[in-house]
């Protein structure tokens, strides 16, 4: 059953009408999930703006929103692969990353790195220590929980400030000095990390460390995703939202323009507080269900075969971007939005695309006379004037 209304198989058009009906009658609609391709995200944001709802596609800590306080210094996996003479991994997720494998598969062939084997060090590997072989990375130890502090102590060491004689965070003083020394003498050092391990404070510490090292040599960072979790949907959502609304996708549209508020529009919080009475769950790459339970009416638009603890009111299965149809979405390996040709896929996929479903709901709303005047508030304002 590819399209279902209240657990009964349904025609797609009927499901779109029902979904539109739910959203029209909602006090506050929320669109959330694991994200979609570019066309899907465009349609999701248009729908959110039309209903004056909210969106949240910030599943994991989003690097860009983490850096809004201090900024960022980074490079691409390809430059790390071809140039890094010293590669310092920090945190467990960095070592699990599939993209890291691509970096390690090459050897330094450009400029500074040429002719010397790359040195790979792993700070705070935690429970992931077995993800890389002993010949792939030298383990340095360190407490994962103390990572932001360790990075700050490393920074202190680099800029010549005193550091604790007893060491810090499971590392000896000599151990810390060794790491700092190795980075100082690197010629194109790269520090690879996952925002999930570091959090805002850790990212800020890391950027301060990179900044200090650049006073003398070239060091930069390489942001990686969370191990095996594909970030395609979430990263695509973040990029499309940024150029469409100016903000990361934790945004409300109730006032007729996008308002970014990472607390107020946190989907999990909104659901548990009962603030939204209709939810569009959008997950185009994974057959994933939400981690929360809700009494709100749920419209699930997902890759095939998602199972829900509580059946959604409307469930529509969609074609998978890049597999069933050609699409643009984020590739962590490329660190870019790329076009993905669906090799061998039939010209017209058996299932509708996510963008077609979301666009279909939007046209039903427009047809039902629900003309978008910006938002309920904007409407109220216009009535007043």
């Amino acid at each position: 059953m590819t399209t279902v209304i209240e657990q009964s198989s349904s025609a797609l058009d009927t499901a779109l009408t029902r979904a539109a009906d739910i959203l029209v009658n909602a006090r506050l609609g929320l669109i959330t999930g694991h994200g979609s391709d570019v066309a899907g995200m465009r349609a999701a944001l248009k729908l959110a703006a039309h209903i004056g709802g909210a969106v949240d596609f910030c599943r994991a800590p989003n690097l860009h929103s983490l850096t809004a306080d201090k900024g960022l210094m980074f490079t691409t996996p390809r430059e790390a692969r071809t140039r890094a003479d010293v590669l310092l991994l920090v945190g467990p997720e960095a070592g699990r990353s599939a993209t890291l494998k691509q970096v390690l598969a090459g050897s330094p062939t450009l400029s500074a790195g040429v002719g010397t084997p790359r040195e790979v060090l792993w700070l705070c590997p935690g429970g992931a220590a077995n993800a890389l072989g002993a010949d792939e990375a030298r383990l340095l130890g360190g407490d994962v929980a103390a990572l932001p502090g360790i990075l700050a102590v490393l920074n202190a060491c680099v800029i010549g400030r005193p550091i604790p004689a007893a060491g810090y965070g499971g590392l000896s003083r000599e151990g810390i000095e060794d790491i700092a020394g190795r980075m100082i003498t690197s010629r194109f050092g790269v520090i690879a990390f996952s925002p999930a391990d570091l959090g805002p404070l850790g990212v800020e510490s890391l950027m301060a460390l990179a900044g200090a090292l650049n006073k003398g040599t070239r060091v930069t960072t390489l942001p990686l995703g969370q191990g095996a979790i594909t970030d395609a949907g979430q990263q695509t959502a973040a990029l499309v939202a940024s150029w469409t609304t100016g903000f990361p996708p934790r945004t409300g549209f109730a006032r007729g323009f996008p308002e970014y508020d990472p607390w107020r529009f946190d989907a999990a919080r909104m659901v548990s507080a009962g603030e939204c009475d209709a939810i569009v769950w959008l997950s185009s790459f994974e057959a994933a269900a939400p981690g929360w339970r809700t009494d709100a009416r749920l419209i699930a638009i997902t890759a095939p075969n998602a199972t829900f603890a509580k059946p959604p009111t409307v469930q529509i299965e969609t074609a998978v971007p890049g597999k069933d149809f050609s699409a643009e979405f984020y590739s962590e390996a490329m660190q870019a939005l790329v076009h993905n040709e669906a090799e061998g896929a039939p010209e017209a996929p058996a299932l509708p695309t996510p963008a077609a479903v979301l666009g279909g709901i939007l046209s039903k709303l427009a047809l039902s006379g629900e003309v978008d005047t910006g938002s309920p508030l904007a409407k109220a304002r216009q009535t007043k004037s």
Binding site: T67, G71, A105, G246, M334, G374
Partner: protein, 549 residues
């Protein structure tokens, strides 16, 4: 058929400045009909100024740097106004939708993103596609990739021009661009090897190739390929007082008489006279421009207020990190060219900023050929593009300039030539600078002009003494014959096109060679970043133009 009746038509491309009529049919300008009945709609434009739609050839409106800046500076652009129902997101500050709306309302119909890097090509084109109303295009940044630098190194000055040309052609075709740009040629590569300043004759370590050699190779290649837009050059030493203007003049000379476009010249027009070692070099540069007829330039005018500088010149941006206001920055080492994002506030009370403002206007006023100097703020580096109406006002009205000068620091104005300059731009010159000339320079033959057969991109303004007010809100704007702005406000969304070149394929088996190179070097396909002919979810919005050869 639409008749635009009785406006003052200013069309320098066709030598026309007179009161008259224009007729539009099927998106084009057509001759007056023999049968008057065929006119279905008439707009009475008496008392109005009619020009082709404005063309901006250097405005950072899409791509990695722009999109990263949006998030980095999210507290700087809160929303304020609900969007009209027919144009969602069009009031969301700094969104692509707002960009299209604001350009259209000022009467601009074509805008070029001047710094598209290969790895960000798909994203840049997706962003461009989400800019409503206007047409777009982009310039491909070359000059820092390992592939190119090795080619130049290994050829020791006698490289196979076929291979170079094929690489340039391949880059343009894969990233769907309208021309080629170099940004501090070789500087991005040198920065990765801890080089912190990079001049015209400095050499990229490991490659032994100078910035000059890279640039000259690309100037020649662009010329051989018949790419209409000359090599678009962001020179070395941007902003380095006492050196930058000399570098700019040396760059003009290095072109050896071949066409070259120098971007945002204001940022180079700095000498180091006076107590603060910062003074105007605009007269030297204006003189050099008048001598080098192969050179065109855009100004990169500075206006006061908060903005953000974003650039592929990582050497320059690294040096500026400590100037960031607010104190947060992004700096990335890309494949080849990377980027740097440094927020900055130009202050009217600041000596340097006030002089920068004056220097930009001096360049506009001292360069006497409006066919070779263009109108930019290097958005957003010098100022947001929304300051264009104010700048037009300053160029057209010496009294307005005097009023501004009176409010600026005397110490700065004493060092400036501006207070002595009395020239005022005419409407005709404005139409050359912002319409006819950039269209010609980009090879968009049917744009920037109002002759029969031209695309009906037309902007209509009410003549007013207050030029800021006049150019802020066009009375009417037509895009390919459709009315997109009326009374300074946009109509429902209408989608323009992205113009790009399709250079001919060469004979050096570049595809196979690059495929091998990318696989060995990076473990990916050479076409991984290529832009498809149509994106999913929409028909192709690209318009292909030929090279001249």
């Amino acid at each position: 058929m639409i008749r635009l009746k009785g406006g003052r038509i200013i069309d320098p491309a066709n030598g026309r400045d007179e009161v008259g009529d224009l007729f539009i049919e099927d998106g084009h300008i057509v001759a007056a009909p023999n049968i008057p009945d065929s006119v279905k709609e008439t707009y009475d434009l008496s008392g109005k100024i009619v020009m082709a739609g404005g063309i901006d050839l250097h405005s950072h409106i899409a791509g990695n740097n722009v999109n990263l800046s949006r998030t980095l500076l999210l507290e700087q652009h809160p929303g304020m106004d609900p969007h009209p129902g027919h144009a969602p997101f069009s009031t969301a500050p700094w969104s692509t939708y707002e960009t299209g709306r604001l350009y259209a309302e000022m009467g601009f119909t074509t805008v070029i993103e001047p710094a598209l890097v290969a790895q960000g090509a798909v994203q840049a084109h997706l962003e461009l596609a989400d800019i409503p109303y206007i047409d777009r295009g982009a310039l491909a940044v070359l000059g820092n990739t390992d592939f190119l630098l090795k080619m130049l190194r290994d050829g020791e000055g006698n490289i196979s021009t076929d291979l170079l040309d094929d690489y340039v052609a391949w880059s343009i075709a894969a990233t769907k661009c309208l021309g080629v740009k170099v940004v501090n040629a070789g500087g991005g590569a040198a920065f990765k090897e801890n080089v912190r300043t990079f001049g015209l004759d400095d050499v990229v370590p490991s490659y032994g190739v100078s910035s000059r050699a890279i640039m000259q190779a690309l100037i020649a290649s662009v010329n051989r390929l018949g790419i209409p837009h000359p090599l678009h050059v962001h020179c070395n030493n941007l902003g380095v007082a006492g050196e930058s203007y000399i570098t700019a003049i040396q760059t003009m000379e290095a072109a050896g008489g071949l066409p070259i476009h120098l971007a945002h010249l204001q940022f180079y027009a700095y000498a180091s006279e006076g107590k603060r070692h910062f003074s105007s070099a605009s007269a030297f540069l204006a003189e050099a421009i008048s001598q080098h007829k192969n050179v065109t330039t855009d100004v990169g005018q500075v206006m006061f207020g908060q903005t953000v500088t974003l650039s592929g010149d990582v050497v320059r941006q690294y040096a500026s990190l400590s100037d960031a206001r607010p104190k947060k920055t992004i700096l990335w080492d890309g494949d080849g060219t990377g980027g740097g994002i440094v927020p900055y506030a130009y202050k009217a009370k600041n000596y340097y900023n006030a002089l920068q403002w004056a220097i930009g206007l001096e360049l506009f006023l001292l360069i006497d050929d409006p066919w070779r100097v263009y109108f930019t703020t290097d958005h957003p580096n010098g100022a947001p593009f929304t300051t264009y109406p104010q700048i037009l006002h300053l160029l057209m009205d010496a009294g307005e300039r005097a009023a501004w000068i009176a409010r600026l620091p005397k110490k700065a104005m004493d060092m400036a030539l501006l207070p002595q300059l009395t020239r005022e731009y005419s409407f005709y010159e404005i139409a050359i600078m912002s319409r006819a000339a950039p269209a010609r320079l980009l090879g968009l033959a049917d744009r920037g002009q109002l002759g029969v057969g031209a695309a009906a991109d037309i902007s209509v303004y009410t003549e007013q003494a207050d030029k800021t007010a006049m150019f802020s809100a066009a009375d009417y704007v037509f895009k390919d014959g459709d009315l997109i702005v009326e009374g300074g406000k946009v109509k429902p969304y209408r989608w323009g096109r992205t113009h790009h070149l399709k250079p001919p394929k060469g004979s050096s088996q570049i595809d196979a060679r690059l495929e091998r190179y990318y696989a060995e070097q990076y473990g990916i396909s050479a076409g991984a970043f290529a832009v498809p002919d149509a994106f999913n979810g929409g028909p192709s919005h690209f318009e292909v133009h030929p090279c001249r050869k």
